[in-house]
Structures are given as C-alpha cells and as structure tokens.
Subunit: 334 residues, 2 copies
C-alpha cells in the first residue's frame, strides 16, 4: 500500500451500512435498554407507563455549516437540543434515535467525530441516556434527525400552558451567547459573497474569551438538563426550552397559558435586545408559584391576560422576537 | 386579485413554520395522548412500562423521486415502513413523530397531500396511531424522517435472535411486488440519461393489473401490521420486517439467532429470485415452533447453524441478496 493510499480519507460511500453503523456504535456507551440497537426497533423501560418523545432535525445550510461546526460539535448539538426538549417537560432523557443522511463523499472520520459528540453530550448532560437506535442513508444534503425519549419517573409533565397569574417568571441557563456566536460567524467568517469561511483552529484560538464562549455555545449548546428536572421537582407550573429566542418562546407560553408575561429588561443582562431576540442557548423558561423555592434568575411576573402576550418594562415588545426558519433563512448556503 | 394570483401555488417559503404546521395538523386525526403536539415534547401512555421505538428516513433521490411518488404516496410510505418496524417487535403502534425538511419552493399542496397520506396509513394499518409530534425545517433536499413508537401491551418483544432449531419459517405478506415496481419504474419511466420521467395518471392507468399492483406496492407499501401482532400472540419465536430483501433479512435473522435458515424455492412464488433479492414489500419474516398455530405461508425450516446463514433448496444462495443504500445507489438523482 502506498503512502497516498494509507493517508487518503475513506468515505462512507466505500463502506456498507453495517460497517458505518459498527463504527458509530463502537464509540457510544453500551445500551442499558431491554432491547438496544440491532433489532427492528428498540425497547425502552419507562417505569411509570408514560414516555416523553420529541424530534428535531439539523440540516446543512439553515441549521449548521461544516465550515464552522466540527463533527464533534454537530453530534453534541444534535443531542443537546433534543435532550433540552425532553427535560423541558420535566422528564429524564433515556434514549436517542439518530438518523444520519450523508453525501457518499463524507469522510468516515466525520462519522467518528459525530458519534464522539453524541457520546459526550449524553455523558455531560444526561448520563442515563444512550443511543438506542438510528438510521443511515445517502443524501445530497447532510441531515441529522434526532428523536429523544424520556421518562417522567412519576412526575406530572410540566406543560407550557401551566403558567398562572402571580407566578414568578425565571430563566435557568444563559440568554444571548449562542446568538452572539452566530452573529460573530456571520460578521467575521463569511467572504464577500456571504459564503462561510472555514473557522480554523488558529482563528478560534485568536478570539477573546467572550467571543470564544459565544462561539462554543452556538456550536455546541449546554442546556442545563439537571436543573430543569430540579425545577420540575420544585413545583414549576410551566416550563419551555428557549430555542427560538426569549420573546418568541415567552409569547408561546403566554398564549398557551392565556396570560401576559411581563418581563423586566434590567434582569436580562447587559444586552436585553439580544437576550429577547436571540435563540439557541437552550436554557429554560420556567414559572414558579410564590410559595415554591424557585431555581434560576427571576426575569418577570405572570399577569392577567391583556392585549399583549408579553410586555417588556410594561410596554409591548416591538423588537426582534426570534428565529423562524422559513421566514428568516436567507438561502445563503454554506 | 388577478386570476394568475389566485391560481398560483403558494409555497412553504411564503408561510411561517406555525402556518405550515397548522395546515398539517388540521388534516390528521386528533391526538389521544396525555400530551399531544404543541408542547416541547409529547407524552404517550405505554401501560406496561415499556415503549418500542424506531426511526427511518426517506430522502429524495435514493429513497424516492417526486417524478414517481405523489405526496400522498410519500406520506403513506413514510408511515408504513416505520409502523412495520414497530409491529415486527410485536408492538402496537401508538405514535409517529414526523420531521419534514423541504426546499422553500415546495408547494403547500405537497404538505397537504403528504399529511393526508400519513393519516390514511394510520387509519388503514394502525388505527391506534396518531402523529404526536414533529419538526419542520428548510433543506435543499426533501427529507422525511419518521419515528414510530409502540406499546407491547404485556407481550414479550419478538426479537430477530429468537429463532430455534426445528421452528418453521413463515412469511406474512407479499414478496416481490415492490421490487417489481421499482424495476418497472427504472425500465419504463426514465429517459435516455437515466433521469426519471413523470409517472402521469394516464401512464399509470395504461398499466396492466400486475404492473399497477407492483407500482402501488413500491410507492405505498401495505405491511400487514395486524397480522404481525397476531403472530406475536400466536407464539412467534422471531420476527422481522422484510425491508431489504428476503435473502438479506433472513441472513440477519440467522446470524442473530445463530442458526441456519433453510428456504424452499418452490414456496417463494413464480419468481423466487425476485422474492429473495427484492425488498421494500415490508411483509414479515416469522418463525414459529412446531406446536404453535402459525400465520402466513411456510417457506422453510430453522436448522442447526452450518457454514451458510441461509440455504435455498439446500445450497448456498449466490444471487442478489437485497438493497444496501451505500453499496447500491447509483447516484442517478431524480
């Protein structure tokens, strides 16, 4: 075998589905399920007879660009955003199903890095969670569709419709870094035509600490899963993953609960506009009754439904409210 | 409004995610779950404390072509292939989560037809099943990722590893029509460059009944879900959805069970080669012990593991074994 042959990257198009799958499963923690990967379907234990289920897809272009995200980042993010949705119901994540559609020129090293990112997210955020199933297929567009399942362990589900007048409004987790991270990428890592420019290791190392933190939270968000479960145990009346921006997600909670959520801009950090309009940090918006021992930072109060779903410092919010992929995506592919 | 404006097709790119979602949910049967669509995650009841979960993705190009599949076909197929995997474990399908990634030029009528196909598949194949969640995003490549969940209702899961020496080998459902259908499409509905040619209603109406049946089973397969559950109740020792071809799927069952599956070509219909090598009918391969009352057609016997995982008429099978997307896809996009 020549040097060129040994150093050339093997692609997924040169391997069978079974070979690719083994390369993924070997890097993941072993299944603890009654039936794990390898059969027609997995069988998972949910002792209280209820399962929480959610799905979210990341598509190359609108949701991520390979010029910016490492395979590890992508695996971490694909797991994290789904784990956050399970935890937002007050459920403990127990399983991921991961569908990966890849161009056949995708290097096998991508698959390995992606699997390592999935494993890292489970280990860091949801140690009871393993990858219990999935699907591999070919696509012109790299697409990652993850389903997360969770167990309520006897808890009542914490719905977005449960906020009650007089409850305090809290945020668990950060507001803003992920949006600051995407702004940084759009401003500094695109060429004159708007195409993404590779985020190299030296370029990343040259960033200041605030920028580096923002970038890290955009590329691999850290939802505080364990705190969300503690919030459910502490009597949260409503909870949501803040994925699309605080203003938009608070509007959804207010509409579902038929209340007005009154926010105090002084509690929203040094950039309230970014906190209200930027999404993707995957913190949690939570309401607690006055007699509960709340978690997180108080940012407002639940009031009787008025004309507006949310107010900021007593007035309607007219700024940017968050991200809608069909409205906001500019078709600048990367 | 001019005539041109009223007749022009509205695209998903002109609507918000919420508007598209309402257009889908309005066409689906109402949720019967403790928490249905609209929150961060759904909550589903699985009374015996175990949930069965599987995911499968359909990608434009390798898995379907819009020139051939109607939106209704696609919704039906996306549901059916996942329902089959749940039923193959002996579980009753209770919920689908549907992630749809669409180019923004996709007409809204596509989404409506797709939702109608999902609803039709649930109604016909798994009446206890509803769409309980999902995700919409933008993609250059139309991609459908479905997760199906099921309840074992106290049954032991029927695994592919359970076949025992002396068991009879049975097939429930058809073998071959779906493969005959894809052959027909490749032979008669492609141009000289291999690009798909639209399958028009008149062209479809002009087909003979066998061809029309084959086409229908390729584009919208009908897995016999209820019979699979009856097979589990009748004492099936092993069961699998036949998705990639009988020879390949029987090999998987034989390897998982550490047995040899001996097949009799005379039991495989008038085209045993097609029955062995063609996939996508989504019937079920089932083994029953001698004292059970079996369902389906007997096609062979489980024997002590020999050199070969499967034999046909006592000899090794050297013909086509089934479909592997990475090995077999010819990159002819359509």
């Amino acid at each position: 075998m020549t040097d060129a042959e040994t150093t050339r990257e093997i692609t997924v198009g040169e391997l069978s589905e079974g070979q690719i799958l083994r390369g993924i499963l070997d890097r993941l923690p072993p299944s603890a399920a009654p039936v794990g990967p390898g059969d027609d379907a997995a069988v998972l234990a949910v002792p209280d007879g209820r399962v929480v289920a959610t799905t979210d897809t990341l598509v190359h272009g609108p949701d991520f660009r390979l010029a910016w995200s490492s395979p590890h980042d992508l695996g971490f993010k694909a797991a994290a955003v789904n784990l956050a949705d399970v935890a937002a119901m007050g459920a403990r994540p127990i399983a991921l199903l991961v569908a990966l559609a890849m161009p056949d020129a995708t290097p096998v090293s991508f698959v390995r890095g992606f699997a390592d990112g999935l494993a890292a997210a489970c280990a860091e955020l949801a140690p009871d969670c393993a990858v219990e199933g999935g699907d591999l297929t070919v696509s012109d567009t790299l697409t990652i569709a993850v389903t997360a399942l969770g167990s309520l362990d006897g808890r009542a589900p914490v719905r977005r419709s449960g906020a009650r007048v007089g409850d305090g409004v809290y945020v668990i987790g950060e507001l803003g870094p992920a949006a600051r991270g995407i702004d940084l990428l759009f401003r500094r890592f695109r060429d004159a035509d708007g195409a993404p420019v590779a985020l190299t290791a030296p370029a990343r190392a040259a960033l200041g600490s605030a920028d580096a933190h923002a970038l890290s939270r955009q590329l691999a968000p850290r939802p505080p899963i364990a705190e969300a479960l503690r919030a459910a145990d502490a009597g949260a009346t409503a909870m949501m993953d803040i994925s699309d921006g605080l203003a938009l997600d608070a509007t959804r909670m207010a509409d579902a609960s038929d209340v007005t959520i009154s926010l105090d801009s002084a509690s929203l950090g040094d950039d309230p506009v970014l906190a209200l309009g930027g999404g993707e940090d995957h913190g949690f918006l939570v309401t607690f009754p006055a007699d509960a021992e709340p978690l997180g930072r108080r940012i407002g109060t639940v009031e009787t439904r008025g004309e507006e779903a949310i107010t900021v410092d007593g007035r309607a919010w007219t700024g940017r409210t968050g991200w809608d992929p069909y409205r906001d995506w500019d078709a600048g592919r990367g």
